[in-house]
Point group: C2
Chain length 374, copies 2
């Protein structure tokens, strides 16, 4: 998997993040096959969910991805330098004063409000052209997008769209990860009805979870995100995606605790029975959430080692009593996310979702990309 | 505070982080005065608690700081390029294969275990010199450091220290933020007793909270961290530190919700009474913790606006019904951390501490440093 050169580099780091670009490519192909004949786009906002836009976007392009979504215009600008011919949608849209950046980098804004529609349309008109745009319809999430009245206003005054070439219409599901939630059907119905009041354009509704809701939800395009990166796309069932991330932290110290004593900040954990404690080189500054204190489970050589006491900024203490002594060696590594410590399980232990764990992975990891050359 | 050039840059960003280097300098001087005659060192690990090592370290040096602490050797290497003559301690210590990096960058490892003592001592001996070292004593936190038996072993065989020049002895308080906790006195007593069994060297025990426990805890040096960056150093009482951080997110959309409907993922929030909802350009990928869903409180023009529904990766929805209509304008900004949204209050709303909020501030903020030129 890793070259000897990569292994030598990892041996010098305190904290290593392995990112498997082959797994990401494989996941893209699984999702594309599932969504076909709809197109599968990739959501690479937040630095490709924390995994590195610079490496992940070209790998996805290599796997056949032609359409990308980011949130911020700055992300779009960075992405344009990596994927020259792809279409790039910017989910947060455009505002007055920022139009030229979209134009210069061939970024397509997703227009979320009437003021964004008017701003971008005016820019096209003022430049004597029609600028490409996506429109976001709020089908029930009340987060971003045009609502019924906005769409009625556009029907009543089609001139407001005059400077635009509408290339996509989208909406977003609130409860896509709950297949039985009636909200999904209601949003689909509402979206299909509202979008017909706009000029015809290809449409999308499904993100990763929505891909698994069946072909009604695929429409013309799906927007894959967490599933590309190996996260479980639905709230129950097995995970069909390949693991793409493995984070490992160095074991800094191992000690036998024979007499009762407290561990960590706030003296929150008390060792009563004799135990072995290992301190590893990761903390909440590295995205190992503070909420994992006394709840997280790391893994050493395939054996689970629970977090004891609070998570510090740079350190975590594990109870390694159940791990054979010869396997817990100062200088070796423990799996903290991925490997023996399943991403979705760790997220659940932290009281959150895999998306937050990934996007919080910090800058101190030595990052090793596998499959970068293929 | 900000130049017109900086203001023009901020006007183009979705998300802005103002970092006040003058406030950080001022905080350093407050803490130095409080700790005197002990020296005040600065803890700048985790990219100076998320605020930017490159800008913060020179500002602290400018304020008189001569000693810095980081966690990882890579952080020490980056810091050495910024503060040429300062002493830099690396808290995670040294391990076999990494010694030359410490030597080349004049980094002083904090030796936390007997294997680290032996590794660094051997390196000094093999090079026919004595290399500078700090020793970490575990005074009761059971996280890192030499314990009673380790110190007895060094007393019995002083040759193990032969390649070292011991320049500092340190320990760390578990409950320093709780002035009445008897653990503090117990750790102080244990530390003073154990360190006398090692060769004499200046010592430190107090971090930010410990500075406020009184002069017994200051010994020769204190290690200021969170208080430099404006966080409240103790768990109760008023905060004597100047605010150094203000994070602001753009208002992307404002809407009136007149009929009952759900907001955000999982349809977790239901609007019953007529309300106004604003969606802002920040999410958990930017360190606005997902745990702030339905609990966080942002601020628009000095008026509190509670988070409603779940925090998304890139978006947050606020109930702005209480904010006068003319103050909630699409394109304007809301305070999310600092300003009207006090750092420690937001941390408490998120169920965590200011340290975690700061170290999780992501890479999408447009960062503006105030006081950089002085």
């Amino acid at each position: 998997m890793t070259s000897s050169n990569q292994q030598a580099e990892a041996a010098k780091a305190d904290l290593v993040l392995y990112i498997d670009l082959n797994a990401i490519r494989k996941n893209y192909k699984i999702l594309q096959a599932k969504a076909a004949p709809a197109e599968c786009a990739a959501c690479v906002k937040a630095n490709a969910y924390g995994l590195g836009l610079e490496q992940v976007a070209p790998a996805l392009a290599d796997a056949g991805c032609k359409t990308f979504f980011v949130a911020h215009v700055t992300e779009g600008e960075a992405l344009r330098a990596l994927v020259n011919s792809a279409r790039i949608y910017v989910l947060h849209g455009v505002w007055s004063g920022n139009e030229q950046r979209f134009f210069d980098h061939k970024l397509t804004p997703v227009l979320n409000s009437m003021s964004q529609v008017d701003t971008w349309s005016a820019f096209g008109r003022d430049n004597g052209t029609k600028v490409e745009a996506a429109v976001h319809i709020d089908s029930g999430m009340t987060r971003l997008g045009l609502d019924e009245q906005d769409i009625a206003a556009l029907e009543a005054d089609p001139n407001r769209l005059e400077g635009l070439s509408l290339v996509h219409i989208m909406s977003h599901l609130s409860c896509g990860d709950e297949p039985d939630n009636p909200m999904n059907q209601a949003q689909l119905k509402r979206f299909q009805s509202l979008r017909r009041k706009l000029p015809a354009a290809p449409a999308s509704l499904a993100a990763s979870a929505g891909i698994f809701l069946g072909s009604d939800y695929h429409i013309d395009l799906v927007r894959a995100g967490i599933a590309l990166y190996g996260g479980r796309p639905t709230s129950d069932g097995t995970n069909p995606m390949a693991e793409a991330v493995r984070a490992r932290a160095r074991i800094l110290q191992v000690r036998d605790v024979d007499s009762p004593r407290a561990v960590g900040y706030g003296a929150a954990h008390k060792v009563i029975e004799p135990a072995r404690i290992a301190t590893i080189s990761v903390g909440y500054a590295d995205g190992y959430a503070r909420s994992l204190g006394s709840l997280g489970r790391a893994c050493i050589e395939g054996i689970t080692a629970p977090v004891v006491g609070r998570v510090s900024m740079d350190l975590v203490t594990l109870d390694v009593s159940a791990v054979p002594r010869e396997k817990v060696v100062e200088g070796n590594f423990a799996d903290i996310i991925g490997g023996g410590a399943n991403l979705d399980d760790v997220a659940q232990q932290a009281g959150t979702i895999s998306y937050e764990l990934l996007t919080r992975l910090g800058h101190r990891y030595h990052r090793i990309y596998m499959g970068a050359g293929s």
